[in-house]
């Protein structure tokens, strides 16, 4: 990132810039010094929105820690203390809880935008990797954060998810040893809560570090764009400021309205009511459900009959995104010019949403009343096969065999073409 052509306008800025060239760095990353393709659409707003949510989560999180107590006897009560006694405590906690969900919404859209427009393809593979690392770190952070209020879903979610690692039982007692290491005991208990608290505080700052790398890796090749073609000529690009700062500011303001609707009017809709019951190791809730953003992966886990293979499938369903740049053999990035790819992309999203929905169901629940009835488990298996088929069969074949539509020679040319049409 950074820009060598930054010219400070004031004497003070010049004096400072000679000693620490941070103004030039900002100018070159988020200011007029960064030249971005002129045709970015609103799907490109979600990167800055994700950055905003990260900041919101860190600020509200630091403030909540001033009142929260990470101890099994006091955690639940200290959260209620925040909700009832601390000045604006309810606002801070509802913002943090709903902010986590909205952060995932934004990041999912950001990832899917990258998939649709081929942003993962050469030369942006490392940018894609770093994004996936951020996503994995977010999953870990979100999971550990959900444990902290020490409600029933916190406790049983932690129990179920940590038990996954017990599947790696390659020789006698290894699985159990891993679990004891994770728990700091023989079950999820106070040592577990305290280490989750420590890591939940640490990981967001690791995310900040990876985000900086992510932006760095973005600025070397520059942003991709809806056409998926390289922005070369001067007419293809415009300065980030004021064009995209204005667009991001508008998008952010609109997004905050949506966020506010959740925080102020639907604060508990994305949470689980059982988490308003204090954790009790003696009573398992009838139905343990993870937060919505893990649900598709939870279904994949449940779809595989073998414990170890189920866990492997679940991790593979996320890690497979890392090889996407090589599974996709197309010379064209954007699905705009690859209609078959676009069709399967939407099918993939529909399947992922359906898998997520199945995640909330008990395995033997009858979902579709045809013949003897299709239960959630069977449908989950079909969805899981479809999910992996997308990566292993559909993308490699379609990307290599599809007859694509003509691609404009340059971004500027496409703008001029649409001018003529109008």
């Amino acid at each position: 990132m950074g820009s060598s052509n930054y010219e400070p306008t004031s004497k003070a800025a010049k004096w400072f810039e000679e000693r620490l060239p941070i103004l030039g760095l900002i100018h070159g990353t988020l200011g007029a010094g960064y030249k971005a393709p002129r045709n970015l659409n609103y799907w490109w707003n979600f990167g800055s929105l994700a950055g905003f949510m990260l900041v919101v989560q860190i600020i509200t999180g630091i403030v909540l820690v001033m009142h929260y107590t990470p101890h099994v006897d006091m955690a639940f009560r200290s959260v209620e203390h925040i909700m009832r006694d601390v000045n604006y405590g309810w606002l801070l906690r509802y913002t943090h809880a709903n902010g986590a969900s909205m952060f995932f919404v934004v990041v999912y859209i950001h990832i899917l935008r990258g998939m649709y427009f081929g942003s993962y393809k050469s030369p942006r593979e490392v940018l894609w990797f770093l994004g996936l690392v951020i996503y994995l770190l977010m999953m870990a952070t979100g999971f550990m954060g959900y444990v902290l209020p020490w409600g029933q879903m916190s406790f049983w979610g932690a129990t179920v998810i940590t038990n996954l690692f017990g599947a790696f039982d390659f020789y006698n007692g290894m699985g159990e040893s891993i679990l004891h290491l994770l728990w700091g005991g023989f079950s999820v208990d106070n040592p577990t809560l305290q280490r989750f608290f420590s890591l939940h505080y640490l990981l967001p700052f690791v995310i900040v570090g990876v985000v900086i790398l992510h932006i760095w890796a973005l600025h070397l090749p520059g942003s991709n764009n809806p056409l998926g073609i390289d922005a070369k000529g001067p007419g293809d690009k415009i300065p980030f400021h004021p064009y995209y700062t204005a667009k991001d500011a508008f998008g952010l303001s609109f997004f905050i309205v949506i966020l506010a609707i959740f925080i102020f009017y639907l604060p508990n809709i994305m949470g689980h009511p059982d988490n308003y019951i204090e954790a009790n190791p003696m009573v398992t809730p009838p139905h343990i459900v993870p937060e919505w953003y893990y649900l598709p992966f939870y279904t994949i886990l449940k779809a595989v009959p073998d414990k170890l293979l189920g866990v492997v499938a679940m991790f593979a369903s996320i890690l497979i995104f890392f090889v996407l740049p090589w599974l996709d053999g197309s010379k064209i990035r954007s699905a705009k010019f690859r209609p078959v790819t676009a069709f399967f992309f939407w099918l993939f999203i529909a399947n992922a949403i359906f898998l997520g929905y199945l995640g909330t169901k008990l395995p033997d629940e009858i979902m579709i009343h045809i013949g003897g009835g299709l239960d959630a488990l069977t449908l989950g298996r079909i969805g899981t096969i479809l999910y992996f088929a997308y990566f292993i069969v559909i993308v490699p074949l379609v990307s290599r065999m599809e007859s694509t539509k003509p691609v404009p020679t340059s971004i500027a040319q496409s703008v001029l073409d649409s001018r003529k049409e109008a």
Partner: protein
């Protein structure tokens, strides 16, 4: 062609969504009655008279078995009581206050900063007194029994409706073919229909201080209102602030929309390229 592909994709999503919603609405034999709550909706405010009656029901009936651990007497000013009334209310309770010179527990009168005392000293004692069942704490029941559905809001179960359902749908005798376990009672709203709590309220169980006729429905309504307040005491502040924030941010969004439009005026149509 591109449009067509997109439309097919969207249709698939909508179709799947439709299936899931239709499925979600099809289950559960008993449907809770939806009541009108003055505190529901974006402009909802608590009915203070109902809260005060609900507090009276809690104190005279429910408190024999159910704790209210998270609520302090001082918070009762939100029900419309003055500071002195809260002080008087608190002083009707007694709290252990250290030991005297002989090593016996001393007692003092309750103060506004004290929390509602629990009826049982421990979970074990509570279970012993209730044929093995644990009467749940009331502080968060209004929220912990609700099931909100984002995509099928008509399937949402609100905590208050659930509480009213539990209190008013006891059957004196279990329906034909249902065998109740020892000490259990048949209740339509309770998951599994077998509840350990005996029917707790009936007509004229309490005599309301404000003279409202104490029908079973009225008592259920009042205590459910009170329990929802206990679970979400900041609801009124929250909704009021939300309205301000949303109006403010909408104005800013409109302003920024025009700023963005102005900034992009030349570039949008490619005037700079000609």
């Amino acid at each position: 062609m591109l449009k067509l592909v997109k439309n097919i994709g969207l249709m698939v999503i909508i179709a799947l969504g439709g299936i899931t919603m239709a499925q979600a609405s099809g289950d559960s034999a008993y449907h809770l009655k939806k009541n009108d709550w003055p505190h529901a909706g974006p402009f909802g405010k608590f009915d203070k008279a109902a809260l005060q009656r609900g507090l009276q029901v809690y104190k005279e009936v429910c408190a024999a078995c159910h704790s209210l651990n998270m609520v302090a007497f001082r918070e009762l000013t939100a029900l419309g009581y003055s500071a002195d009334e809260v002080k008087a209310f608190a002083s009707e309770y007694e709290f252990a206050d250290g030991v005297n010179d002989d090593g016996d527990v001393k007692y003092r009168k309750g103060l506004p900063q004290d929390y509602f005392p629990a009826p049982f000293a421990s979970e074990t004692e509570a279970r012993d007194s209730n044929s093995g069942a644990l009467p749940p704490d009331f502080s968060l029941l209004g929220k912990s029994r609700e099931h909100l559905s984002m995509f099928t809001p008509w399937n949402s179960i609100y905590g208050e409706d659930y509480i009213v359902g539990i209190l008013t749908t006891y059957h004196e005798e279990a329906p034909h073919g249902v065998v109740l376990a020892e000490g259990m009672h048949f209740n339509e709203a309770f998951p599994g229909n077998q509840i350990a709590m005996a029917p707790p309220i009936s007509d004229d169980l309490v005599e309301y201080a404000d003279g409202t006729p104490a029908t079973m429905e009225q008592i259920a309504h009042d205590v459910a209102t009170f329990m929802y307040w206990a679970a979400e005491p900041k609801m009124e502040v929250r909704k009021a602030m939300g309205l301000k924030v949303i109006i403010y941010m909408s104005i800013l969004t409109i302003l920024l929309y025009f700023v963005n439009k102005r900034v992009w005026k030349k570039v949008k149509k490619g005037d700079d390229l000609v």
